[in-house]
């Protein structure tokens, strides 16, 4: 069970499907580790379902059901309950984004003891990346160009604010100045969510200062 969670607003946007792609993937990753937030999302979905049922009904096309049945005739089998997924190292959605294995990704190393690879840039300009810190490695002091969210997916790290383990969903404000250090007993893998640097007001709703150096 993790100690750092998305906000209620973020969980509500996730449940109603209105968050951006990259944000939704980050929240889904957190949910993989956090039962309490899974329950909250399910509660939100239950509430949404009440509103859904109370809508004014819209008239359907007269031939709708016949069209549906003729499509179904072409695939008559009702699927059996899904077989349990093979256990994977990272949450399934992250495995899918990595495609093969972490070594086949395109890595760069912006700072000592840290390498990063971009997994996805979404429709709002949020960039989802994978970060890897070697066990015990300390990344030099730095601040962030914009606001950033990190989700630990393996291992753990500490900085001046606290220490974090798998599933922790950490909001870092743009002015946050820190020097994270991976735990000594294993490498640390993180998902990171940042605003693309070109925007003045990013999709996370915070003002990004273009004069701050990364």
């Amino acid at each position: 069970m993790s100690n750092w969670h998305p906000t209620n607003d973020q969980l509500l946007e996730f449940a109603s499907g209105t968050g951006s792609s990259a944000m939704s993937i980050a929240i889904s990753t957190h949910l993989h580790f956090c039962q309490a937030c899974r329950h909250q999302v399910h509660d939100n979905e239950s509430m949404a379902a009440v509103l859904f049922e109370e809508q004014t009904r819209a008239d359907l096309a007269g031939d709708g059901f016949d069209r549906l049945m003729s499509r179904i005739q072409n695939e008559p089998t009702v699927s059996a309950p899904k077989a349990p997924k093979a256990p994977s190292r990272f949450p399934p959605v992250i495995e899918k984004l990595i495609h093969k294995d972490t070594e086949s990704l395109d890595w760069r190393s912006p700072m000592k003891n840290l390498r990063v690879s971009q997994l996805l840039k979404d429709e709002t300009g949020l960039i989802l990346g994978l970060h890897h810190m070697k066990s015990g490695g300390r990344v030099p002091h730095h601040t962030h160009r914009g606001n950033e969210i990190s989700v630990v997916i393996e291992g753990g790290f500490s900085d001046e604010m606290g220490s974090y383990g798998p599933g922790d969903f950490i909001h870092l404000a743009g002015e946050h100045f820190h020097s994270p250090q991976a735990d000594a007993d294993g490498d640390c893998w993180l998902l990171s969510l940042v605003e693309a640097p070109v925007k003045l007001t990013g999709p996370l709703g915070w003002l990004v200062n273009p004069f701050l150096k990364p």
């Binding site: 809508q55 059901f65 009702v78």
Partner: protein
């Protein structure tokens, strides 16, 4: 929840199980007749028709195809029929909109919104209490809170987009949502939330 709503819940759970067990088309048609018009209304609230007149009806077709294919995964102990179908409609809306946009990626909505692994034995009881309470309280909310809740849940708008549309500060939208959610969840013990 009223007696009628409890009966509906029971009734459509039975229908979904019939579709799963024996591909019962009468049961499937009963589900279509009840939920089809709601899925279409949801497509319209989400603004799908602005991108193509046929899209709300297309959403109904896609959601009902998924209901047919996945009926075997429906589990009445985990979710009410309405909740299960709402989550399918949400995912299909996301995939449909993504297909239409120039922005693409390889992740499907089902990869992101897949919470099936979460078995909660008390899910049904908890959910039915929440839904009863929400139904009762919804009509007691101040109009501005009710309007915002309907928008954030059904209209495919982020809090930021709702704020822009209503010409309100983002903080006001968030606080109205928060107040409404508090009322809708009151009476459920704090421990349960």
């Amino acid at each position: 929840m009223t007696e009628q709503q409890l009966q509906d819940r029971e009734h459509f759970a039975n229908m979904l199980e019939k579709v799963a067990a024996s591909q019962d088309t009468q049961a499937f048609q009963a589900i279509y007749n009840h939920f089809g018009p709601l899925i279409k209304a949801f497509g319209v609230s989400s603004g799908l028709h602005y991108q193509g007149d046929h899209l709300p009806e297309e959403l109904v077709q896609e959601v009902m195809m998924t209901v047919w294919r996945k009926a075997g995964q429906f589990d009445r102990r985990k979710a009410a029929p309405s909740t299960w179908i709402f989550t399918i409609a949400r995912n299909q809306r996301i995939d449909l909109l993504r297909k239409l946009s120039k922005y693409q990626n390889d992740v499907d909505a089902d990869d992101v919104w897949d919470l099936e692994g979460d078995t909660d034995l008390f899910g049904e009881v908890r959910e039915s209490r929440i839904q009863t309470h929400v139904k009762n309280e919804l009509n007691h909310l101040p109009i501005e809170q009710k309007q915002i809740v309907a928008k954030v849940f059904l209209e495919d708008k982020s809090h930021q987009e709702v704020a822009s549309e209503l010409n309100l500060p983002l903080g006001t939208v968030k606080s109205r949502v928060r107040l409404a959610m508090q009322k809708l969840k009151t009476h459920l013990g704090a421990n349960e939330l």
